[in-house]
């Protein structure tokens, strides 16, 4: 593709964007002649250039559209929605053709006859209806403005020069210089009309004469310019005034410097027209001198500056080592220059955010038509600048949000009026600087988020249960829209609701270190707040050290730093083995950087290198709504670092967002706050705490379990694992009977003892729900006041050791502190020998067996340990496989090991293989405990070396297996019943 075509494409893209928004504007303010003029000129330029480049399809479409616009300008055609739609259709066709041209290098084949036909009919049909009396246009503004500003003059000169060439005999000789002449002429005319100092028009004319132009030639050119201007809509009076400028200078051929300056001005002028057109038709006054530069050149420049910054940092670092150096002064100068250079280069990458918005007015207009809604798009702060890389990443998310607002948010006019609102809906889009960030707001005054639908959707998608939703604030529930696959659109319209959801938007924004928040009031509208960093290339970062290795932590995600003394460790606590920190009024989940990154312990003894060793630091960070703390050993300065991409070979590591070189020349990794956040919340505990903090983050933890929540007696809600409950019944207790001091109920041809929550025989009064526990012929009913809900929740016993018997501990279920009931306690109360039936004293009390229970779930530990103890075993507990191995090595005095299968780290299978490999433990009976127990699982367990295999929720089977193993000697391979 030749350079000319490339230039045309780039220029046309810009013009088309301008046209898009100006046409929509015109539709709203049909009377604005300046706007019509501008639109006409742009279309004219496109037509002219296409003709010049030999692009017939483009030319004919543009020509037809130009005709229609010409009628509009002449007042012969009223601006209506139909007119604008048709011109926009032409614009779309032009865009298509340009796109094809860009990829293919030539115009695609095809016919535009239909489109051109309707444009023609519009132009002719309306004009045939009678030329409406041309409204007397007030002569507003200066002659310069009426002539159409710089772009108008450019167009006129272009037309004139082309016409001149067409009738000149020396066409071939003149042609090469004609473009130069055209530009010089236009520039000179513009200067003359504005009465500004600059290129003298006389110089241009003198130069022409010097080049052998005759007076006649110049006359012809002059009259062509006049013709061109009148064609562009200037009345004859103005044309005469304009031409007078030419004549006047001609009559006064002052010997002046040759036209060289005019030619020198040219390159800077050349790219001006499209830009000027974009700047509201009066750009002439403060016209910026712009230059089109290849983006790769800018990128290269940026890279070089980055290197320079690094070198500067290194030099300064070295300099600090020398008290007094002759390099001091020049280096400080270098420092200053580098900083300024860095800022300037950063500026070249800055673009107004409006560039990402340019397509939105058109989008909203088309949506409004398609959906029969009246929508105003109000944009403020479009000139707020940000790095082009970031601009690119927010373009799509912004478009998506505006589209959502127009599609789902704004109601139809009828609905709005019915709701007591104005018939016009408004979407506000605004941007502003705030600190080192840009804050973008997208808000609408539409119907807001329908809470009922969100709830319904959350429930059907299984993202949360009813009780969990009840415990959430409205805003927390609203955040569900950011979850994958979440769309509240009832129908898939052609516009949105195609399943590309807000989760993608959030991902894109978080990827560039931004955050997005959402608020909505049903009936009054919704509002997105997006906060994004200004630039990605050079960021301020906090340098931290952990186990002797340094890392950079982007400053914008750091909320605060907390120093914790190792000796007192005040505020540092553990919940279920996970560290948390009490920061003011909130509990902060912590994670150690050395654990996240799996850093090898450094051999350095704490205290060896100075004061910082007796304390540790917590870097409090925020990603979205999740606030967490990262434990590091040391914290250094903040430094401006240049972000370089991570090598492809290591890009799969989520914890790093880049690499950089520090002032001292060493390479360090830049931590990715998003990656750290997911590493932090990967642990089940933090997930639970994070849920409260993040609002709506439901734990998908490993140990999620169905819990039956009920109320009984005084106090808060209580819960029992649903899997232990056989049935739920409701019975009239007045029908219960008393036998042997127990309350019993006739139930399924048997007698079921009934207990109340205190373990006493239930009172025989009123109708109550009963939780029925069944085991073979035995039954037990636990009488409760009401059954609240069934909730899937990760179970984390927080307060083990109970206030009263029958309670294992407490856990947070659906946001409320809930007591977990010890089923075994009640079962024993109801039937003394429930668990003793088959144990039958296999061993004497003085001959207690030592059992090692390996179980990572606190719930099962707390469920099984008292049960085993009650059954007469001495129980030692290990929380994971690694601990179990340690314990076995330490004191090899266990008789039986009972181990869970699914555990983090060493699984039950791994554990049994390891233990079997050890000679001293080769014969040790090991019972597998698992929630899965089909034949294949059991076989697999036995193959791995387990002695027996029982299901977790069948305490009786476990006791039976233990008893069997203990009494019949060891290594007895037999399936559990």
């Amino acid at each position: 593709m030749d350079d000319l075509l490339k230039e045309f494409l780039a220029e046309t893209q810009e013009s088309l964007d301008v046209l898009d928004s100006e046409l929509v504007e015109l539709e709203q303010q049909p009377g604005d002649p300046a706007l019509v003029g501008s639109i006409f000129r742009i279309m004219h330029t496109i037509k002219g250039t296409c003709g010049f480049l030999g692009l017939p399809r483009l030319e004919s479409v543009a020509h037809a559209a130009e005709d229609v616009l010409g009628r509009v300008r002449d007042g012969q055609l009223e601006i209506s929605q139909g007119v604008v739609s048709l011109v926009l259709a032409a614009l779309d066709r032009i865009k298509e053709l340009v796109a094809a041209l860009e990829t293919g290098g030539s115009e695609p084949a095809g016919s535009d006859a239909e489109l051109i036909g309707s444009l023609r009919r519009l132009a002719e049909g309306e004009s045939a209806a009678g030329p409406a009396a041309k409204p007397a246009v007030e002569k507003a503004g200066s002659l310069f403005d009426r002539a159409g500003g710089v772009s108008g003059i450019d167009t006129a000169c272009e037309m004139a020069c082309n016409a001149f060439l067409a009738q000149s005999e020396q066409r071939a000789a003149l042609e090469p210089d004609m473009l130069k002449l055209q530009l010089a002429l236009a520039a000179a005319l513009a200067v003359a009309l504005q009465q500004k100092p600059g290129i003298n028009i006389a110089d241009v004319l003198i130069c022409l004469r010097d080049n052998g132009w005759t007076e006649r030639d110049i006359d012809v050119l002059g009259s062509e310019i006049g013709k061109a201007f009148s064609e562009l809509g200037l009345d004859s009076e103005d044309v005469a005034a304009l031409l007078a400028h030419l004549k006047y200078e001609e009559a006064d051929p002052a010997p002046a410097p040759v036209a060289q300056p005019a030619e020198e001005e040219k390159p800077a002028r050349q790219p001006a027209p499209p830009v000027a057109a974009a700047e509201k038709h009066d750009a002439g006054a403060g016209q910026a001198q712009t230059l089109r530069v290849n983006i790769n050149v800018l990128e290269d420049l940026m890279t070089m500056v980055s290197e320079l910054v690094l070198t500067r940092n290194q030099l300064l670092q070295i300099l600090r080592g020398y008290g007094d150096s002759p390099f001091l002064a020049p280096l400080q100068r270098l420092n200053q220059v580098t900083t300024e250079l860095q800022e300037s280069v950063m500026m070249t990458r800055m673009q107004p955010i409006g560039n990402a918005w340019s397509k939105l007015p058109r989008l909203v207009r088309d949506l409004g038509q398609e959906l029969d809604k009246k929508i105003d798009l109000v944009m403020t702060g479009a000139d707020t600048e940000l790095d082009r890389q970031i601009l690119e990443s927010i373009r799509d998310p912004l478009t998506h949000m505006v589209r959502n607002s127009a599609d789902h948010g704004i109601e139809t006019s009828a609905e709005r009026v019915a709701a007591g609102k104005t018939p016009h809906g408004t979407i506000h889009l605004s941007a502003r600087h705030e600190g080192g960030h840009i804050v973008v707001l997208v808000s609408d005054d539409g119907r807001g988020l329908p809470m009922a639908r969100i709830r319904e959707k959350v429930l059907t998608n299984g993202l949360a249960t009813e009780a969990q939703l009840d415990a959430m604030s409205e805003q927390q529930i609203q955040q569900f829209i950011f979850r994958p696959g979440f769309s509240t659109a009832a129908a898939v319209t052609s516009v949105s609701g195609r399943g590309v959801g807000m989760d993608v938007v959030r991902n894109n924004i978080e990827k560039i270190g931004g955050i997005i928040e959402f608020q909505s009031t049903e009936g009054a509208g919704s509002r997105f707040v997006i906060k994004i960093p200004l630039t990605l290339a050079i960021v301020s970062a906090l340098i931290v050290e952990c186990e002797g290795e340094r890392f950079a932590m982007p400053q914008n995600s750091v909320v605060e730093l907390v120093r914790i003394s190792r000796t007192s460790a005040k505020g540092l606590e553990n919940i279920n083995g996970r560290p948390v920190y009490r920061l003011r009024d909130r509990l902060l989940p912590l994670a150690s950087l050395s654990e996240i990154l799996d850093l090898p312990k450094s051999d350095k003894v704490p205290g060896e290198d100075g004061e910082s060793a007796d304390s540790t630091y917590v870097v409090v960070s925020q990603v979205g709504a999740l606030i967490f703390g990262i434990i590091v050993d040391k914290v250094f300065d903040t430094e401006e670092i240049v972000v370089k991409p991570v090598s492809r070979i290591m890009r799969h590591i989520p914890c790093f967002s880049g690499t950089t070189i520090l002032g001292d020349g060493r390479v360090i990794m830049i931590l990715d706050p998003n990656g750290l956040a997911s590493a932090v919340s990967a642990s089940p505990h933090v997930e639970a705490v994070g849920k409260a903090a993040a609002g709506g983050r439901i734990a998908g933890g490993r140990e999620a379990m169905s819990m039956l929540v009920f109320r009984a007696g005084d106090g808060g809600p209580q819960a029992v694992p649903l899997s232990l409950v056989a049935r739920l019944e409701e019975a009239d207790l007045t029908k219960a009977e008393v036998t042997g001091g127990r309350t019993v109920l006739q139930y399924r041809n048997g007698l079921m003892p009934l207990l109340d929550i205190n373990g006493n025989p239930a009172a025989r009064a009123g109708k109550h729900p009963i939780l029925v526990f069944v085991d073979g012929p035995r039954m037990l009913g636990l009488v409760v006041d009401s059954v609240v809900d069934i909730i899937d929740a990760p179970l984390d016993l927080q307060l083990a050791g109970s206030a009263r018997p029958g309670i294992l501990g407490s856990a947070i279920i659906a946001g409320a502190a809930t007591d977990i009931v010890d089923t075994v306690h009640y079962l024993r109360q109801g039937d003394e020998d429930w668990f003793n039936v088959e144990t039958e004293k296999p061993f004497g009390a003085e001959d207690q067996r030592n059992v090692l229970l390996v179980e990572d779930s606190a719930f099962f530990r707390n469920l099984l340990m008292p049960m085993l103890t009650l059954a007469g075993y001495r129980v030692v507990v290990a929380e994971h496989g690694e601990a179990a191995v340690e314990l076995c090595k330490e004191k090899n005095s266990f008789d039986i090991i009972v181990s869970d299968i699914e555990m983090p780290g060493l699984s039950g299978f791994d554990l049994v293989r390891m233990l079997r490999a050890d000679e001293s433990m080769g014969e040790m009976p090991i019972i597998a405990l698992s929630s899965h127990a089909n034949a294949r699982d059991i076989e697999r367990g036995l193959d791995a070396g387990f002695t027996d295999y029982v299901t977790k929720l069948d305490p009786k089977a476990l006791l039976a297996a233990l008893s069997r193993v203990a009494s019949t000697g060891f290594a007895h391979k037999e399936l559990a019943a």
Binding site: L597, R648, H652
Partner: protein
Amino acid sequence: MRNEGQLRDDTVPGAIAGAESTSEDYVTMGIGGQTFGIPVLNVRDVLGPQNITRVPLAPEEIAGSLNLRGRIVTAVNMRKRLGLPSENFVATAMAVVVEHEDEPFSLLVDEVGEVLSLQSARREAVPATLDARWRDVTQGIYRLDDRLLIVLGVADVLRTIRTDSI
């Protein structure tokens, strides 16, 4: 087998291979006592022991990153890559800098030797019996006077690390 004697005569260290246009120059390097070669045109730089920053969680063959005049270069521990013992290797290793898909990498090796000019026609196929780890990265073998030279495929070295890690 082809004419062995002839082959040996041709492989004079550093010699420009006469009129034959099909000769190629290799930078030789030693890894665990074995001689390897990389076409000289692929080599950007040869460095002495460098200060290398370890990258946590990276594949084990990746020794870390180093700073080469402002560029960040990923260092590959060739001993690890070939399954050889590599205790205290990184701190003393020589670094051969190569470019792969516009990204600089440095191969950490025991030593870097002379440049040999070898006749392409003399290159022999990879023996099928070679350990898979080695075979993956071997493009061919030359028989020198006193030893064998394995032509190392830089792209293969890096590609296989990538697939291992994902």
